[in-house]
């Protein structure tokens, strides 16, 4: 699915989180929203997911206006910064949640749900943790379960808010590789937020550099390094 953001602005009361920003995300791309704290990355991601609605501007999915579409209709797989796993459910039930929430007509049978959940747990290379509770997992395992849960709904796109933010350097590297592989096998349009320029440059096809609610530059990692559009971009991407 390709996504277009047209002149989206967002205000929280008097606070301006996003100045009108525009961006085209090609179908199947892996995109990084890169920028310092408070630059509006999370706000933009939440607007794409339908968790927040823009003050003005439009969002288009496959060329169709999706600005007023509800969060449920958008079917965006969202991975939260602190994972937001359901703490009173086992890993299995967490991953199965989106399938069980479907309307009766579209809901798979229990056996089919079981098969799909196990396939996803295999995909994140944690085949045996189904019966455990989130509190019994490491940070890296939680992150992967959150990813599996988001993938279970057969999302139209994947949105990740600082997916590796709370993890140590070694685990980050592994999971980065894991995300790349999952992106390549599923072919999902994927947007992830990060303030780590190395992560953005290494992982993304296209990097969107943001600052103070504005998009400073959009480009391939190599191009941004070679031709930074502003002093801010140069300083931030070489830091």
């Amino acid at each position: 699915m390709f996504v277009e953001i047209e002149e989206i602005a967002k205000e929280f009361g008097a606070e301006r989180a996003l100045h009108p920003v525009s961006l085209s995300i090609p179908s199947g791309a892996l995109i990084a929203l890169l920028g310092p704290s408070g630059s509006g990355k999370t706000t933009l991601l939440r607007i794409l997911a339908g968790l927040e609605f823009p003050t003005s501007g439009r969002v288009l999915f496959n060329g169709e206006d999706a600005t007023g579409m509800s969060v449920q209709q958008r079917r965006a797989g969202f991975v939260f910064q602190h994972y937001a796993l359901f703490r009173h459910m086992t890993v299995f039930e967490n991953v199965a949640y989106g399938l069980r929430a479907r309307k009766r007509k579209e809901r798979p049978t229990d056996a089919e749900i079981g098969r799909r959940v196990n396939r996803l747990l295999d995909l994140i290379q944690l085949p045996d943790i189904g019966p455990r509770y989130p509190s019994q997992l490491s940070g890296g395992q939680r992150q992967r379960v959150a990813l599996a849960r988001a993938l279970a709904i057969e999302p139209r796109m994947l949105l990740l808010d600082e997916p590796f933010g709370a993890l140590d350097a070694k685990v980050r590297k592994e999971l980065r590789q894991g995300l790349r592989e999952i992106h390549d096998t599923t072919g999902l349009t994927t947007v992830f937020v990060t303030h780590d320029q190395e992560e953005a440059m290494e992982l993304a096809d296209l990097v969107v550099v943001m600052s103070m609610g504005r998009i400073e530059q959009v480009g391939r990692p190599g191009d941004i390094r070679a031709r930074p559009a502003s002093e801010f971009v140069r300083a931030f991407t070489t830091a």
Partner: protein, 288 residues
């Protein structure tokens, strides 16, 4: 020098020295004995002073029976209503940003800071025959003051904060992320509430409901004012106990008091039972 012999510390660092521990535990046990157990035992022994049969026959007097029924009825109506209102209030306060939020929180606490007698009087003023509202209700043949609806209103007012007060801190701490996750996974608002919000707050809710229930059955001041204390009609257990006591019917008074205490003990037992039954789940999800 690596071979200095340190004494082995077997206890975790948070453990106090033995003596301090015994003194602390001893003090608590003595306090509990004096403040909690002694009065309870006194009530029961006074109730049973003339034997079981006297106590039981005093409880089966028509007035006592109707008091027990009324109290159970009041609790059965008030507790579920206040559970729903409490959840709604806590939900509104913790999950949404709106103007006047601080004021709403203060308002929820109002019944705690207003004396129940004042609350009862306020309701009499509002719904009594001297007010326009009261006159309207009387004209339409609905009795509020000195009748069951008044007792229900007074009890609801007094017990309103318990559920909301238990829920607000828990819901505050949990934030909105899990609910948002459920929504992005396609769940409707109601489904999110029943499968994510409610399970996450169930222990706080249970605790709030138990406190609310205990107070609903035990409320005296507000009910005393608004009920008019019509014997056999609007006397709840606490009111009946006071009336019997004032009439020097000590066995009857204390039997009813013991019955009221038993109701409270049963709810506590219920809570312990549930906690014991779900101990595994509790420790796994680290909630209490």
């Amino acid at each position: 020098m690596s071979d200095i012999a340190y004494p082995v510390r077997a206890n975790p660092v948070t453990t106090e020295p033995r003596l301090a521990r015994y003194i602390l535990i001893g003090t608590v046990v003595v306090l509990i004995a004096i403040l909690l157990f002694a009065p309870l035992i006194a009530v029961f022994s006074e109730a049973l002073r003339e034997g079981w049969s006297a106590a039981i026959s005093s409880l089966s007097e028509p007035d006592a029976r109707s008091a027990i029924q009324l109290t159970l009825l009041v609790a059965a109506v008030v507790v579920p209503l206040n559970a729903v209102f409490g959840i709604a209030a806590a939900w509104a306060i913790t999950k949404f940003d709106f103007r006047g939020k601080a004021f709403l929180i203060t308002l929820i606490d109002l019944p705690f800071s207003v004396s129940p007698v004042v609350a009862g009087l306020a309701l009499v003023l509002l719904f009594g025959s001297n007010s326009a509202l009261g006159a309207w209700f009387i004209a339409h043949d609905m009795k509020i003051v000195f009748a069951l609806p008044g007792i229900l209103l007074a009890t609801m007012f007094v017990t309103f904060p318990f559920v909301a007060r238990e829920l607000i801190p828990v819901m505050m701490e949990q934030g909105r992320a899990e609910e948002e996750a459920a929504l992005t996974l396609g769940a409707s608002g109601w489904r999110t509430f029943f499968t994510v919000t409610l399970p996450n707050i169930r222990w706080a809710l249970l605790y709030g409901v138990l406190l609310c229930n205990a107070r609903a059955m035990g409320e005296f001041g507000a009910v005393a004012v608004i009920s008019g204390k019509i014997r056999g009609e609007t006397t709840t257990m606490p009111i009946m106990i006071e009336m019997l006591y004032n009439e020097y019917l000590s066995v009857a008074a204390f039997s009813l008091a013991a019955a009221l205490a038993m109701l409270a003990l049963v709810t506590l037992l219920l809570k312990s039972l549930l906690e014991w039954r779900y101990a595994d789940l509790l420790s796994a999800t680290r909630r209490h």
